[in-house]
Symmetry: C2
Subunit: 315 residues, 2 copies
DNA sequence: TTGTATGCGTTATCAA
DNA sequence: TTGATAACGCATACAA
């Protein structure tokens, strides 16, 4: 007991004895066993982080920010990859719960809203990334990227350049992000007094092949297109390829903008303009919110990350 | 006790009682507490994974492969990011040890060889990625990418194309990989009866900026260069940019090859040839080796991953 | 200031 | 086949 007190800097130990204990512990390479600590029911100083695909740069950046912050605060991260499968998401949350994590951060889960809410409710604290909750729950916060604002920024930038026939390779119809970006797209057009032309919009897979075929489809319907927004950078780059292969000059004939600002965006020719969110910061912020929730702070609100337009050659 | 036996499918429980127990456990949402299990001294079914930078695609792929395999085998991965700092590497291994992990996988640590060996010796099992051990230790295996063979393959490919003045943007002088690749480079040249010209070699940071300046430096010394090998794809892409901006045609004037085959390699113009190792497979393999070590298999040997040349437009 | 008894949730061991 | 007891390593509550 005295040893425990000495090592944990708790009062009630003679200073000289404390010194001897610490010295000896050091010599012996003593490290307190975390499992035993957790068992007694304190904090486990561990948080769970659930991501669909760690090899995806988007999530990797978030993970990095989260890991860094957790480390600074003395927490360890339990990472689980779900491979976009609901079943594995379930299993992940089960595992984390069994390990007594102090809280979880869940990135864009596939789970249905109410099931997610229920699953996440078991934990002492939780932060949801890129998901909204049906009803706000205690001990839970959300962090979303302001997709509407991102899309609006893209449209306004193109309008300022003098574009007026702006296409949208909109990504998967089922994606929440895609829906919010479509929203922002329509809002910005309306504000500019422009009519929304459904023929300028095409859903597509969220990769370069999707962008390629979407660009093709839109241009066949509306050959006088003067700008194109991609659901993400890969889509935009696919569109870029189609345009270049079919005699359009970018940005003079058609300006192009993507989202996310992946490293590739700066490297293609012409360099791709993109609307970016600071994902490392998002990860940091997620952990900070989570720790505040863990500490019982009731004032933790949801956060909306404001993206910024990075203007390069393509628009 | 009977409950424990029933739920763990151990013999010594009446079948009907076992059934009732399982049913009830299910209803109650019972999940065994991992900390208590670990405390009793069984396996923790958890492995540690230490990487320098999870946001680096190279490591992200390894992590993904490792995570997948671990999940399939019922293990959970404790991920720790070290940010290329020796101190944090230390802290990471300490934390993992305190958590009673069954084994660790350490990716290209910065730690000095003997310190690494000592640190890693505390664990029941360990796998080192891209590191060699001073003296082979029990319960420890290594997985390395055959950098020498990779560099030799690159050089031979260039020789076959008719190149004979082959530059090397060699990466950080302190990197083990870089040293092995230099080795392979010199070996392949010697085999072809070519003299090694130190002026054709330039160390550089392992990113596109490094490649850019290295290309510049080498070309100023040897303007008649006809091929350039980058330490990795980012270096090669940086070199590509320098070449294009200075009027060289790739691959006609100067052929370019990189290493790693990151997704970006296929997307730049001209598409980059690269020597790739299957990193997801490496991650899978690392976990499989580790689990065999954990199970006490004495026959686990070191592994050497053989990379393959992916020939695209640039060489 | 120091030390003893107790309990966290699970499993190994031994008894019924 | 079932159940009682002890133990894992630590920290809380209480006694000396």
């Amino acid at each position: 007991m005295t040893v425990s007190r000495a090592l944990n800097d708790k009062p009630g130990v003679g200073e000289q004895l404390r010194g001897r204990i610490k010295l000896l512990a050091d010599e012996l390479g003593y490290r307190p066993n975390q499992n035993a600590r957790n068992l007694v029911g304190q904090q486990s100083m561990t948080i769970g982080l659930v991501v669909p695909d760690i090899a995806n740069a988007f999530f990797a950046q978030i993970v990095r920010g989260a890991e860094d912050t957790a480390y600074e605060r003395g927490y360890t991260v339990l990472l689980v990859n779900t491979g976009e499968s609901v079943q594995r998401e379930q299993a992940a949350l089960d595992t984390l719960w069994q390990k007594d994590v102090d809280g979880v951060i869940v990135c864009s889960a596939r789970m249905a809203p109410d099931e997610l809410q229920q699953q996440v409710g078991r934990f002492p604290a939780a932060v949801l990334v890129n998901r909204e909750l049906p009803q706000p729950a205690a001990q839970t916060a959300t962090i979303n990227i302001n997709d509407r604002a991102a899309a609006e920024a893209a449209v306004r930038h193109l309008l300022q350049r003098g574009c007026s026939r702006i296409g949208l390779a909109a990504g998967p119809a089922t994606s929440y992000s895609a829906q919010r970006r479509m929203d922002g797209y329509r809002t910005a057009l309306r504000e500019a007094g422009l009519w929304f032309d459904p023929e300028l919009l095409e859903h597509c897979a969220p990769d370069s092949a999707g962008g390629y075929t979407a660009a093709q489809a839109i241009l066949q319907r509306r050959p006088k297109l003067d700008a194109l927004i991609g659901f993400n950078d890969m889509v935009a780059i696919g569109a870029l390829q189609y345009l270049q292969q079919n005699g359009y000059t970018v940005p003079d004939d058609v300006a192009v903008i993507g989202f996310d600002d992946i490293p590739l965006a700066a490297m293609v020719r012409p360099a791709l303009s993109s609307v970016r969110a600071d994902l490392t910061q998002l990860g940091r912020s997620a952990v900070e919110h989570l720790l505040r929730l863990i500490e019982g702070d009731e004032t933790v609100g949801d956060e909306l990350i404001e993206p910024q337009l990075v203007s390069r050659e393509s628009a």
